[in-house]
């Protein structure tokens, strides 16, 4: 009985293998291979593989793509064991920067044997994106795709029904928030649950406010660990977020419990209920995927966005973004070819057309964006007067994790802000020394 069952399972496995083989394409041989480690899984993995396909077809180089959510841990383990992949892409550049500082990355712009054609690269990328990839003046990371944060999503039908206007200034936003609240509905939907990474969605609010309220200089010295968390500029950003949350989070649908318990992916759902439970939801552009799939909402008619208004007009047009950084850990000709390929607008366009990504490349054609909303998001990025990279992703991992946890503590009890910030200061003092 048992032998029979196991036997039929094996037969099933072989059938499945045969089916896969039958569907598989021709093998690429002889030109070598390159191993890439990154975080993208699911449909993102499909998109990245679509990007790699023309490269493999043209060069004959086989790309072995490996995906894991624990990319930091896996990369560190392999590196220490002396077996790193040739190319890695990490969600947070801080880890790559640290590795670069330890001499574990390949310099991309060395004078004698540069990986990239530097004149083309310099002409196609804005200085800000180039500088982000530099450590001590040497280029170690390139950015292939970008995203913009601080987009406030709303349901235009709900706004029209109540005759609410899209706010043009921070003051307008506060007025709108109070109007909505006096109408008996909570203005905001906020959700920060994300398993092991819980809190990050709320940390976006704080960093956007720091940039827009205190300006890029404070923002930079803050993520660099030179400005303390208890500094008035940072503290006041948390307090400004507190005015959004309201006393006891009363401006947010479901209050504290809902914020902590709801997964960020479901954060915007109550906007689409009838009657709406909230009117606004601040999240990066990837969230539209959930609106479409989970809430059966239609872009343009059921949801639109406005960029979070400037808190301080002195820093008008300041926006926070993020990007996908690539680095080389082993110098092979195949890895060089792939890094070069990933900086081209042609490679970037493949994923951009599939949705969910923007291109940081200046020569990128706006027509490549799949829909109007994405085009508008891209315009926010290109039109930004001050564009700063996600502060959390630039902080050492310990600092970032403490920052996320602080969000949970702040939402739990806003009155504990001082002790929360003091604790962050303690961690800051240690995290940057490694």
């Amino acid at each position: 009985m048992m032998g029979l069952r196991l036997g039929s399972i094996r037969a099933l496995a072989f059938l499945a293998v045969a089916a896969v083989v039958a569907c598989g394409g021709a093998a690429t041989q002889g030109k070598g291979s390159v191993h890439v480690l990154a975080v993208w899984s699911g449909s993102e993995q499909d998109s990245f593989k679509a990007v790699l396909q023309p490269f493999q077809d043209q060069t004959g180089i086989k790309v072995e793509y490996e995906s894991t959510r624990d990319v930091d841990a896996i990369l560190q383990t392999r590196l220490q064991a002396g077996n790193p992949p040739e190319i890695a892409s990490l969600p947070s550049p801080a880890t790559l920067t640290k590795l670069g500082g330890q001499g574990k990355l390949i310099q991309l712009d060395s004078a004698s044997n540069p990986v990239l054609d530097m004149s083309t690269f310099n002409s196609q990328y804005a200085q800000g994106w180039i500088d982000l990839g530099k450590i001590n003046g040497k280029l170690y990371e390139i950015f292939s795709w970008a995203a913009v944060k601080g987009l406030v999503w709303y349901n235009p039908k709900n706004f029209a029904a109540k005759n609410y206007q899209v706010p043009a200034s921070w003051q307008d936003l506060i007025t709108l928030q109070n109007t909505i609240k006096s109408g008996g509905t909570t203005p905001w939907c906020i959700a920060v649950e994300s398993g092991a990474a819980s809190g990050w969605a709320g940390s976006d609010w704080v960093k956007e406010i720091v940039l827009s309220q205190a300006g890029p200089d404070v923002y930079n010295s803050w993520w660099q660990g030179k400005t303390k968390w208890s500094d008035p500029a940072i503290k006041s950003a948390w307090q400004t977020w507190g005015t959004i949350l309201g006393p006891n989070n009363s401006n947010v649908y479901g209050g504290k419990n809902q914020i902590l318990a709801t997964n960020f992916a479901n954060g915007g759902d109550p906007m689409f209920k009838t009657p709406p439970k909230c009117y606004m939801h601040n999240q990066a552009s990837f969230i539209t995927d959930n609106f479409v799939k989970q809430d059966k909402a239609v872009a343009g008619t059921d949801f639109k966005f406005f960029p979070l208004p400037d808190v301080n007009s002195q820093y008008a047009g300041a926006h926070v973004g993020a990007g996908d950084a690539f680095s080389m850990l082993k110098d092979t000709s195949q890895a060089r070819a792939l890094i070069k390929y990933l900086t081209t607008p042609e490679a970037q366009a493949i994923w951009v057309k599939r949705g969910g990504k923007l291109s940081p490349n200046k020569s990128f054609d706006l027509a490549n964006y799949p829909d109007d909303i994405t085009r508008q998001v891209a315009q926010v990025m290109t039109g930004a007067k001050i564009f700063a990279f996600d502060a959390g992703d630039l902080m050492p991992t310990d600092m970032k994790n403490a920052y996320w946890k602080a969000v949970l503590d702040f939402v739990s009890d806003q009155s504990k802000l001082d002790s929360i910030l003091a604790n962050l200061d303690t961690i800051q003092a240690k995290a940057y020394t490694t």
Partner: protein, 303 residues
């Protein structure tokens, strides 16, 4: 599932099996109520997952799973087709077998040898070694990755050179303390007179081991095989660290985890994936469960 629930639904009073000893403490009905009641409570989370795996995403996140059990019925196979669409499902199924079968056979066999020695042979440092083994159960595996992987890389035991062999060895090393501990406990409980009579018959060590110890310990070995198989089948991190997640070598767990996007997109596929990956362990459990039979030892009891 269906068979089980049909049987559960059969009224207890109609069962032909009515040993009178039950009447003393539990009335027969009470026993059945207790067994079925606890089981029902126990399967609620699994049942919720099963129902959810047939629900469309928009339903799934907005209402409880039990609401799906009343009209209007809105069920879908989307989650299952989503899992079956995973790009290299067949290959990773194959890989999981390639990893799990040897990584179960090797440690269970080696553990049986060692457990026999620990329970029925005398040698220097026996108790010390045995206790050390139990203590090693507590080693957090994460602390062992770097030294072992470094040695593997230096010795050339990488997946490019030796395929899954490195991973089998790792799983053997990690699995042995528990396997030896469990088997030694069962081997030790075997009646001493069995061994004495075997010695009088002039049977050698091998004969005693293969003809007496192994057959009498079948329930223990069966449960050990179940657990070792299960742990390796469900392992994600160890496989990822030692052989990696490229399609050629990725086991089922890695492939299924990659169905979900890095920001949790399509997480509902995990519901169907959980059932998909449960199939093989449950078959193993079902097939080995028939070895849990009472009374093998009847007649050769020690006091």
């Amino acid at each position: 599932m269906t068979i089980a629930s049909e049987r559960v639904a059969t009224p207890a009073a109609e069962r032909p099996f009515t040993p009178e000893w039950l009447g003393q403490v539990f009335s027969k009905g009470l026993l059945h109520v207790a067994v079925i009641g606890i089981t029902l409570v126990w399967i609620v989370p699994t049942l919720g997952l099963l129902v959810s795996s047939f629900r469309p995403l928009d339903q799934f996140s907005s209402s409880g799973w039990w609401t799906a059990l009343s009209p209007p019925f809105k069920f879908t196979l989307d989650n299952y087709t989503g899992v079956l669409d995973a790009s290299n499902l067949g290959q990773s199924f194959f890989n999981s077998f390639m990893i799990t079968i040897p990584a179960t056979v090797i440690p269970v066999t080696i553990a049986a040898f060692a457990a026999y020695a620990f329970s029925w042979m005398k040698f220097w440092g026996r108790d010390m070694f045995f206790l050390a083994l139990v203590g090693l159960l507590a080693v957090p595996l994460q602390a062992t990755f770097v030294p072992i992987l470094t040695t593997f890389v230096n010795l050339g035991l990488t997946p490019e050179n030796v395929g899954f062999v490195g991973l089998w060895l790792v799983h053997t090393g990690y699995g042995l303390p528990f396997a030896i501990y469990l088997l030694a406990n069962f081997f030790r409980a075997l009646p001493t007179d069995l061994f004495e009579s075997a010695e009088i018959d002039g049977a050698g060590t091998l004969t005693v081991f293969f003809r007496i110890v192994l057959p009498l310990s079948v329930p223990a070995i069966a449960s050990l095989i179940i657990f070792q198989f299960l742990w390796i089948w469900n392992d994600y991190l160890v496989a990822l660290v030692y052989v990696g997640g490229t399609p050629e070598v990725a086991p089922l767990t890695v492939t299924l985890a990659n169905l979900v996007g890095s920001k949790g997109q399509d997480y509902q596929l995990l519901t169907a994936a959980a059932f998909f990956s449960m199939i093989v362990p449950l078959i193993v459990f079902f097939s080995l469960q028939r070895y849990f039979v009472r009374g093998i030892l009847a007649g050769s009891v020690k006091g």
